[in-house]
Point group: D2
Chain length 224, copies 4
């Protein structure tokens, strides 16, 4: 399934609020908001729920992570081919909570290209974003460390890092979409991120831990 810009990507991490039936319910809320407002939303469920969530909703589903192996004799690791066979649309790569070796990011981006899986490489600053851009993923999500899980809106702190990262990435490869991957809780934050040149946002706790996730998603969607 294609991922259209601007996009809201929801990463449910390993939160207890997004497991089992609650994982499916959250994915459904994303699907409803997409249908009601016509916005683009992608959803990264718990790894063990991936194949099930793909069957339950009609929005792009992403793996939170994949290992830099080809299929084979490996236990307890998820390879890109399994993500693909599960029907997912792509994968996050190198999330700040699951950093990868440089050579493995390169492996994953180029293997995913062969499988037509969408790649979102997370980065923490401008030089790292430029390095990632040389690997030509579909998308780069900037996560300025000071904003991760801080509740501080990106428009208040470090807006320039988003702006400069977008420019630096586009200078290297204008086809890479850049997302704002931290400092997003509200529709206002989404709007600010888009004004800084981002083509979407990646967020987690703001949705997953909300009392009413659908309400938050509607607000976020209004920012696009």
């Amino acid at each position: 399934m294609k991922i259209k810009m601007p996009v809201i990507m929801v990463n449910v991490k390993a939160y207890s609020e997004s497991m089992g039936d609650k994982d499916i319910a959250l994915a459904r809320a994303c699907e409803e908001v997409k249908e009601e407002l016509g916005v683009s939303i992608a959803y990264a469920p718990q790894m063990v729920d991936l194949a099930l969530v793909v069957r339950e909703v009609n929005i792009p589903v992403l793996a939170q992570h994949a290992e830099a192996f080809l299929p084979g004799s490996k236990t307890g690791y998820t390879v890109l081919e399994a993500v693909n066979e599960a029907g997912a649309s792509g994968t996050l790569i190198n999330h700040s909570e699951h950093r990868l070796e440089l050579a493995d990011i390169d492996f994953l981006v180029s293997e995913a290209r062969k499988l037509d899986l969408y790649t979102v490489v997370c980065t923490n600053n401008i030089p790292v974003s430029m390095a990632a851009a040389e690997l030509s993923p579909n998308c780069i999500a900037i996560e300025p460390p000071d904003l991760i899980g801080s509740g501080i809106p990106v428009s208040k702190a470090e807006p320039e890092i988003v702006k400069m990262s977008v420019e630096a990435v586009k200078d290297i490869n204008k086809d890479i979409a850049v997302l704002c991957g931290a400092g997003i809780s509200t529709g206002k934050d989404v709007k600010a991120a888009l004004e800084l040149g981002a083509e979407g946002v990646l967020l987690a706790s703001g949705v997953v831990k909300a009392e009413n996730p659908k309400e938050v998603l509607l607000d976020l969607a209004n920012g696009t």
Copy 2:
């Protein structure tokens, strides 16, 4: 779902032969053999297929691995609570292809106990099996390194390591079931393992890469 002894545990690893629909088909074959012959079979699917496979078959389903974290802000890792919410019965721990730190094995075994998840700790020799026994998992699967994926039957090479491991583990804690985790391809191997004191077997490629997995499973089941 309870795991009864003697048991045949099938770990599908990250093989391309056990992804997506093929993962479900393999789980179904296990279910059929269990129903036809009344044997105990547990199935460890691809991590991303776990919740889906649990819904599709009526046999105990295991995770191939879980991380030693509590639920929370972790991306691309599977915690025990997500395994539990997916409806799985337990998890492999410390597989030879996914070794864990000693303190993490202890964490996983004791957290799984609270969630009533079944724990299968893999070990590579007698001292390590004894160390694992001190942590009181439900089950220990011995994988003598020389037999892993070798095609050599355990009855031909290193039968004594299984026998001595069973005795060493039972001396420490007689409630721990001991499985033979390598050197098993046929019903004859299963029979040999049980005669050496094992209460079941853990295998992978012998089933997953078979031309006719159900036939292999029937043969294995006849060894119990």
Copy 3:
């Protein structure tokens, strides 16, 4: 060089206060206190200073860590044979800041035995200490997580975990020395640890970050 009990082991970690010339000065302070008071002190310098410190002082020197490899084509890792050739007396294994896989602890303990290197396996609770004891290292250092770097004396918090760990380890193998690896800052703490059954202590910041490390060492030595 033999390590006699009761022992004070000083781990200098990667502190800036214990690098280069300061690493040698700290090792000298240990040597002086050993000579002045006749106590047993072992010293674990920065990894890159190991061979140099061995040449500079006449007390047992330990590696802070070793990798579970045999010598060979590995870059930037320290194997036991290099520790041995550097003239060190042994190594810490599985420190709380450098946890190891269970099978690797087993590998290191049994390889070190062949090289006659002294092994100190760090553990975090009673079941893990019992598991470690099954591997028969020379020594186990208990580091109750709540006490690590807390400044809380072991006699005030969790004295029972030291006492019970000593008993549990000795029940499995009475030849293993048990050290108290956290909650030690003063000679009074050392005395308390020995009264709880420990045969020595392992400490770091209390010495390394002291304004006058030798004074602290003299106080610690008076507790033995």
Copy 4:
């Protein structure tokens, strides 16, 4: 100590032929060849021998690896500050046998710059070399995977990857020196590498496992 181009960098890895006294002897051989032929040679000893080797020879000494931490409460890891205090001139980063996370390569390169330590980032292909170039290390060493430890001279297999990597790196940052990090055993190979645009070579077993390392070094030096 400055590293002049063209350079021969010798990485002794964790080979048994380069431990303890043999490590110092190898470093001396490098020093002698440097003095006799006036060539630039840098030497990366066993990690535990680093400070000692620095004192014993008058050539640039490199760490084989450093961890992406600041000094502090870390056990058994080597930080850049300890490398610096040991008197070393720089460090290898991201060797094919010790891969690092992208964000950690960035951390190490920028921290090393502050300490005036020379950085040699190892890479495995052209896109990864370009990514590394965006981080502005002093030097990039290309290690085409098929040539590592193969004994195949770089001039025979994959010469174009060296040539194209040099061009790609220089296009991004002309101040970065590019080394050929695999396929080098003889002076002829060194010559071929320099003709392909490399400014030096990084090698290991060819020197360390030679019957007469000094002879090999003399031959290599004649290729510069």
